[in-house]
């Protein structure tokens, strides 16, 4: 391809040797440098697209990101800064047939996890039956005594789950972790699709790309089903820690999309009758359901951390007495623990009497002596994760770490073995990503969002996060990751 205009030429010719394929599985290109079947229409389209047109649209999308203020906040010593959301214009593509299996696996997993959480706060059958060790439960930071004996509506604790998936070099999709506390990113999934439609509108006409935009409606229905009142338009509030939270953009976005109130802790109060009210210009108004985006610890200073100024005193009381629905339920985080994670396949077999559809990444639990010895002997080959951190903080990536870092971690593991687990470093998959007019492979993962309330729902695809640094495996936005639009393509219905 030769362009002579004033626009820089973007080298979209992926099949040229410029695009290096390494050991990892590439989502769009096979080992013979041919587009995978689901990606074929995209490459045909790009090959026929004038580079100047592409450049103009790319600029327009960049400007749109700035003015739409799609941003997230990065915490640093230099103060909090708002960063524009890094969006890559090359989509990640998954055929529908493959996706349907993943979707079934995600539903299975969340169902089992909810049965598990409900069991832990009630009879604890799984412990008594010797399937789940009592030591793990006792060492859990996220198990809340305050929740004992409660069964929320539908027996569901985690209503919104963000499950991280990765693909290894043989093409197998693994579950990397289940985010059951306050998973974020879904707004970026929705915004990415809006941007993509501006960028490649023709693709959406000629190709069966399944839509993603019913998520806010599905979320609304899932939340409305938790309302204690019979009113068919319950008052739903999204509870945010405020504008300094890194996901504030998303809180506001979802409230807007659902027609819900966006509230901060100080906007709410619980009266002696245990009813939750918001402070409005005409006095107090009852709130039926709260979609909280605040961690348990800060939710209610009466029940949890007394120094929390973000929460609402009395909220736990109101919830326990059935006066308000809360999603995710307080205490749901007990299953969002990297040690508990290792037991999920067993949890699925125990409650559902089914084989897990999606495999876990093999995991070594440092609480068991034999596994710990293996981990300590193989720190240079493993990724070590603390049980209760999120966002990629506090991890050791063995092969990339220095000897000193590995020694520090060995010490940490010996001091508190329950708090650590290790996994082999996966060669996670890549997809072509645009950098300075050329495409380069970058590692990525996928976070679909799963809803469970009176019914189960999985987003069509999810948020694809991509490590922007060459060779990097860390995709978290807080660590400099970016994102791509995710296309589920129906190849048969076409």
């Amino acid at each position: 391809m030769l362009y002579t205009g004033k626009y820089p030429v973007i080298d979209m010719d992926i099949l040229s040797p410029n695009y290096r394929l390494n050991e990892a599985y590439d989502e769009l290109i096979d080992e013979n440098r041919q587009p995978r079947p689901a990606a074929k229409p995209l490459f045909d389209y790009l090959a026929g697209l004038d580079a100047s047109v592409l450049e103009v649209r790319r600029k327009a999308v960049e400007a749109a990101i700035m003015t739409m203020g799609i941003s997230f906040t990065v915490y640093s010593d230099a103060g909090n800064i708002d960063r524009a959301w890094p969006f890559d214009i090359v989509p990640r593509i998954i055929p529908l047939t493959e996706w349907q299996r993943i979707e079934a696996g995600l539903k299975q997993r969340l169902q089992a996890l909810n049965l598990f959480i409900n069991d832990l706060y009630n009879e604890q059958r799984i412990v008594k039956d010797g399937v789940f060790p009592i030591e793990v439960l006792e060492g859990s930071k996220n198990f809340r005594e305050q929740c004992r004996g409660i069964t929320p509506r539908f027996g569901v604790w985690a209503h919104i789950c963000g499950t991280d998936l990765v693909r290894d070099k043989d093409g197998t999709v693994y579950v990397l972790e289940d985010n059951l506390r306050v998973p974020s990113g879904v707004s970026y999934m929705l915004e990415n699709r809006q941007l993509m439609k501006r960028l490649f509108p023709e693709m959406f006409q000629s190709c069966s790309i399944l839509p993603v935009d019913d998520y806010p409606t599905q979320l609304y229905d899932a939340l409305a089903a938790l309302s204690p009142s019979d009113d068919d338009r319950p008052v739903i509030a999204v509870l945010t820690p405020g504008i300094y939270n890194s996901a504030y953009f998303e809180h506001s976005y979802l409230a807007q999309q659902m027609g819900a109130f966006l509230v901060e802790g100080s906007d709410l109060m619980v009266n002696d009758d245990d009813v939750v009210h918001m402070k409005t210009i005409s006095g107090l108004r009852r709130v039926d359901v709260i979609y909280r985006r605040i961690d348990d610890d800060f939710l209610d200073p009466e029940a949890f951390r007394p120094d929390s100024t973000l929460g609402v005193p009395g909220l736990m009381r109101a919830w326990r007495n059935g006066k308000v629905g809360i999603a995710n339920a307080p205490g749901a985080g007990v299953a969002d623990d990297k040690v508990v994670y290792a037991f999920v396949p067993e949890i699925i077999r125990y409650y559902l009497k089914e084989e897990p559809i999606l495999p876990n990444v093999p995991s070594y639990l440092c609480m068991y002596e034999d596994q710990r010895d293996y981990v300590l002997a193989n720190l240079d080959k493993l990724v070590v994760k603390p049980a209760n951190e999120s966002g990629g903080y506090g991890m050791l990536i063995g092969p990339r770490a220095t000897q000193a870092e590995r020694d520090t971690f060995a010490e940490l593991i010996r001091e508190n073995p329950r708090n650590y687990m290790a996994q082999p470093t996966l060669d996670i998959s890549t997809a072509p990503t645009l950098f300075d007019e050329r495409l380069e492979p970058r590692h990525l993962d996928l976070r679909p969002f799963v809803l469970q309330s009176n019914k189960l729902y999985v987003t069509t695809g999810g948020l694809t996060r991509v490590a922007m640094k060459e060779g990097s495996l860390v995709v978290n936005s807080s660590q400099g990751g970016g994102s791509k639009d995710t296309w589920i393509v129906d190849m048969e219905g076409h």
Binding site: I243, S252, A255, Q256, M269, K279, T280, I281, L284, P313
Partner: protein, 321 residues
Amino acid sequence: MLSRVAESLYWMTRYLERAENTARLINSSTQVLLDLPKGAHFGWDVLISVAGLQDQVKKRGIKLDEASIMRFLIEDEENPSSILSSIQFARENTRTFREVLPMEIWERINGMYLYIRQSAKKATRGRGERYEVLNGVIERRQSIVGLLMGSMSHDIAYQFLKLGRNLERADMTTRIVDVNSAVVLPTDPVLAVPAMERLWMSTLNALSAYQMYRCHVGVHVRAHDVVQFLLKDPHFPRTVHHCLDEIEGCLSVLPSNQEAMRAARHAWRRLDRMNLNGLAPVVLHEYLDQVQADLGAIHDAVSRHYFYLHHTPATASGDNQ
């Protein structure tokens, strides 16, 4: 409507209105300066006192030359009333209630912020560039007002936007009228009369009111006619009279509005009674102060009745509905 959100909406439009009016004030003062005859004197520091920022300027030791004052009014982030700060506050406020506004409003406000961030330096470089940049601010702000009118339901949220806008606007109109009281004119009446006329013409221009004044009052620009027009004309949207009308309209659809309505009517009656013919500048200045105090009283009543819950600690038990 949440009390916190109502308060943020209200301040958001106040900040935007303030940014626009400051831009207008600077542009029209620059025009005044160009038109003044020899022997007349205009000090830039009058803009500081119009904006009520004397104390801050004195405390921070800001020089009173044109360049320093422009930096202070346009891009100084330590000055909470500078154009840049006002727009930044408006943007920060908007972030807290994006869910009640049409999506494009946020995009426009964010765009306006990015614009002033990028061009504030340029605006302090020279008069020509300053004029251009400040006009850009006015245009962007106007497009936001237009978008709000055309794309937002005239619901309770809208009333708070309108309330903030009109209170700030009425206040700024009185301040802009007050600028002229600080101009020292030549003693020779042959020079002074036309100078006076040009002065008031520029006041009208600052408020985009010159043409409407000519249509509805006349071609001659006389001090008391202009003051009369800018304070008491019921139809021009930047007059105190018109703003009070709008304020009353907003209040009338809000719940528990008695006290705020009372304050608005009080402001009305006082304005009505003011005889503006043949006023000495000192008396006019005093009148304008009174109007500003009355507007302040409306603000106090609004904030007591609609924003107070937000400032109440969560443990207090309030009345239901």
